[in-house]
Amino acid sequence: MKTQNQRAWFFVLPVLVLVAFNALIPMMTVVNYSVQETFGDNLFFWQGLDWFEQVLTSERFHNALGRQFLFTFLILIIEVPLGIAIALAMPKKGPWVPFCLVTMALPMLIPWNVVGAMWNIFTLPDIGLLGYFMNHTLGISYDMTQDPIAAWVTIIVMDVWHWTSLVVLLAYAGLVSIPNAYYQAAEIDGASNWAIFRFIQLPKMKTVLTIAILLRFMDSFNIYTEPFVLTGGGPGNSTTLLSIDLVKIALGQFDLGPAAAMSLIYFAITLFASWLFYTLMTMNDNKS
């Protein structure tokens, strides 16, 4: 039981001040922009909810949002099962464990624009390792600056490269916490490998997988730097995800009102979807 203690607020105060400074003031700025129109010179006019209406009905936003959902959906259905599979195949102990963990975590510690740049170099049609291999060894025409499909495949593969390890490491942490007796009991009960996975490993990984899915959802939904550096949103608008479009509008065209309205809608979607995921994934715990 936790002690009831209102003075605990003093402990939380520094965090509160710091995060509020960073979150509330900019958020208010965004809200402010989203309901006003400006023609420069710090002159603002009340605009009401017009920007929201404009964003919500614009085809450009719908397209970017659609691309964003497609991207996040593909990321989740590839990275989560793949990460679990790799975690299951990893050794549980021995000298290879730290080696695996360190090498797998490495991509996550590379600055995001370097990730983009690295994949750019890697996929250059004639002088990149992958680009050369595809075009000259396999004879498959591959140039992501020309072909939207190639661009999509590349940003997906890049994200799989970048972030699958997060799922692997979380799932692995869940797996190694299972006591050996569970496997022995299952063996004696005559459980198949699938039954062991379904009734022992998966339930024990549930907490960490919830974290993994939430983090992967939030981060892939908010992704900006890597695809921006790699494709710049192109060719055409084919890889212009929500964040990329937002920055284009805000900083490229300096349409602050629509950009701010879009930011708020964007944030609301992320928040709602995260809440939905979390509720769905923890629903069984609260039952019974």
Partner: protein, 362 residues
């Protein structure tokens, strides 16, 4: 149901064992009769869990064979041996209901649902968990979880042996005796061979018809609880069983007689094949009587502990500590006393092993 025979079993966890010390099990020959209730008793690290895992098939022994009804099963995996095992910590499948947990081993073996239902209902009734069948197993208390893992072992009607690996470790003390008597009752009803591993003598002695005592990877003695108590085959058994354990006193053997502190002690019967030299005499505290001015070995009382039903007197005689259990009036610490040993319970041990034989007609 089966008779289980272990022949010439040796096991080492190191790949290239060189000396005896590398073996967790040093040559075990044992037969477990069909339908018996056995306890495997020994201190932590004596190899009892290793032995258990070899019988269940979770470990493959380095040497030797395991026979179920004279059929060699050494190479068979656990699932094909038809055995059941209950672990130290309750293993349950969190996401399933109690019913599904109990049905799991049967369903894995492709039994018909109506057989499953009949068996699960019967077992649930025996374990008194019928009213919990529809709850999620994750929500049970530890003792009920342990009941369910026992139930998963008992639910298969053809199970050769049910093994318990210190199953009461995580159970609250006041529930321990309840589960223990439940187990005993279950054994009488299902008549399966059961092997109960523990380091707790009370658990072993109350559960088992036959207790196998192990030390350092070897079986020291097999016997009924009474035999183990009265005639320990090894000083270790004497020491390990009983509270306090058997008194073991150094003595000199001369011409077949045992001498302690210059006095000859009357043994239960003649010592066979014991050469002159040093040996040990074993006598349980229950059979040592203390008197202020009677006969026996001279000693002085170091302390007296009142443990409720009786008193435990700790006396020093010739530098050796001797415990005696007595009811009624006990001497005070510091008193000079005489200790008398009951002849029929005084035994000679050479190199740890029992060396005296019982006199005829006793």
């Amino acid at each position: 149901m089966a008779q289980i025979k272990l022949s010439n079993l040796r096991h080492s966890y190191s790949p290239n064992p060189s000396s005896d010390a590398d073996y967790a099990l040093k040559k075990i020959d044992l037969t477990w009769d069909d339908g018996g209730a056995y306890a495997l008793l020994g201190p932590s690290g004596c190899g009892k869990s290793t032995l258990l895992n070899i019988i269940s098939g979770l470990l493959v022994p380095s040497e030797g064979k395991i026979l179920f009804n004279d059929q060699d099963v050494t190479a068979l995996p656990p699932a094909q041996r038809n055995i059941a095992q209950v672990f130290q910590f309750p293993v349950i499948y969190d996401t399933m209901t109690v019913y599904d947990n109990l049905a799991f081993p049967l369903r894995n073996r492709g039994r018909d649902e109506d057989i499953v239902k009949r068996r699960v209902t019967a077992i649930a009734e025996m374990l008194e968990v019928t009213d919990m069948l529809t709850t999620r197993a994750a929500n049970l208390s530890p003792d009920n979880k342990q009941k369910i893992s026992m139930g998963r072992g008992l639910v298969r009607e053809d199970v050769n042996v049910v093994m318990f690996d210190e199953p009461l470790t995580v159970i609250d003390p006041h529930l321990k005796w309840k589960l223990r008597s439940k187990l005993k009752e279950l054994h009488q009803r299902v008549k399966a061979t059961m092997i109960y591993v523990t380091h707790d003598q009370t658990e072993a002695l109350t559960f088992a018809d036959q207790v196998v005592v192990m030390q350092d990877g070897e079986v020291v003695q097999i016997g009924t609880p009474v035999e183990l108590f009265e005639r320990p085959a090894h000083t270790f058994v004497g020491h390990f069983i009983g509270s306090p354990g058997m008194n073991v006193l150094p003595c000199e053997v001369q011409g077949g007689g045992a001498f302690f502190a210059g006095e000859q002690l009357a043994l239960e019967g003649p010592a066979k094949g014991v050469a002159d030299g040093s040996a040990e005499v074993g006598i349980r505290p229950e059979f040592v009587s203390v008197s202020q001015n009677g006969n026996g070995v001279a000693a002085h009382v170091r302390k007296v502990a009142d443990v409720g039903r009786h008193k435990v007197v700790e006396a020093i005689a010739n530098g050796s500590r001797i415990h005696a259990i007595m009811g009624g009036e006990a001497p005070n610490a510091g008193d000079a006393v005489k200790l008398e040993f009951k002849q029929s319970q005084t035994r000679l041990y050479k190199d740890g092993w029992l060396a005296s034989t019982q006199a005829e007609g006793v």
